[in-house]
Symmetry: C2
């Protein structure tokens, strides 16, 4: 099972990926057969190609993540709260999100789920 | 699908259950065939009898929950961050947790998972 230190470093790298606008930093955290459910309740993005496409698109919005520590870590899961600020079709948006990452034995994210919905979005700026 | 208002009220009732030390307020939120995985990675508590036993025991620690708003709501899920303060074997503990609740069509919680582990616990007081 991956260590808490490993999982913490992965979450920090995920935040850094958005800071730098570099989708490859995020994609490198995922297993080839990972799934992403973002937002929760929508069809899965399955496999590394679909995940890359998702993060390339996400970062085109200029999204930045403000992590709300501490990261919660139990078993092979990490869960973390954050606020993302982005620009969608010319509108500045702030969205409050909780993500869960499940890690495999190799230390890669095998399942990501993002918990948020319309009540968590608001305009700003 | 239950409304965001319904799910928000359920989370607030859950916090209130601990404030009042009344496990029945928490138990009433769950479906008869619900599962509780608390903490994540441990065996499921399945069915309302096991869930009642769990909350009766939890509240004997004097656990109180400080909710870190906002509750994240998407699809039939609510996710929320909080800190719980409790007394375990004479020791005051603070534990940072993220819970996810999945609701069924009747508006009851069908699946609860609590994300935390050793790195999220510390003594205080």
């Amino acid at each position: 099972m991956p260590t808490p230190e490993h999982m913490t470093a992965a979450i920090h790298a995920y935040v850094e990926a958005f800071d730098k606008g570099d989708p490859e930093i995020a994609v490198a955290l995922f297993a080839d057969d990972a799934t992403v459910e973002d937002p929760i309740g929508t069809p899965l993005k399955s496999g590394i190609a679909a995940i890359r496409e998702f993060y390339v698109g996400s970062m085109q919005t200029g999204a930045k993540l403000a992590l709300q520590e501490p990261i919660r870590i139990g078993g092979d899961y990490a869960a973390f709260a954050f606020q993302v600020q982005l620009n969608l079709n010319g509108n500045d948006l702030a969205v409050d999100v909780i993500d869960t990452f499940k890690f495999n034995e190799a230390g890669k994210v095998i399942e990501m789920r993002a918990f948020f919905g319309p009540t968590n979005m608001r305009g700003f700026g």
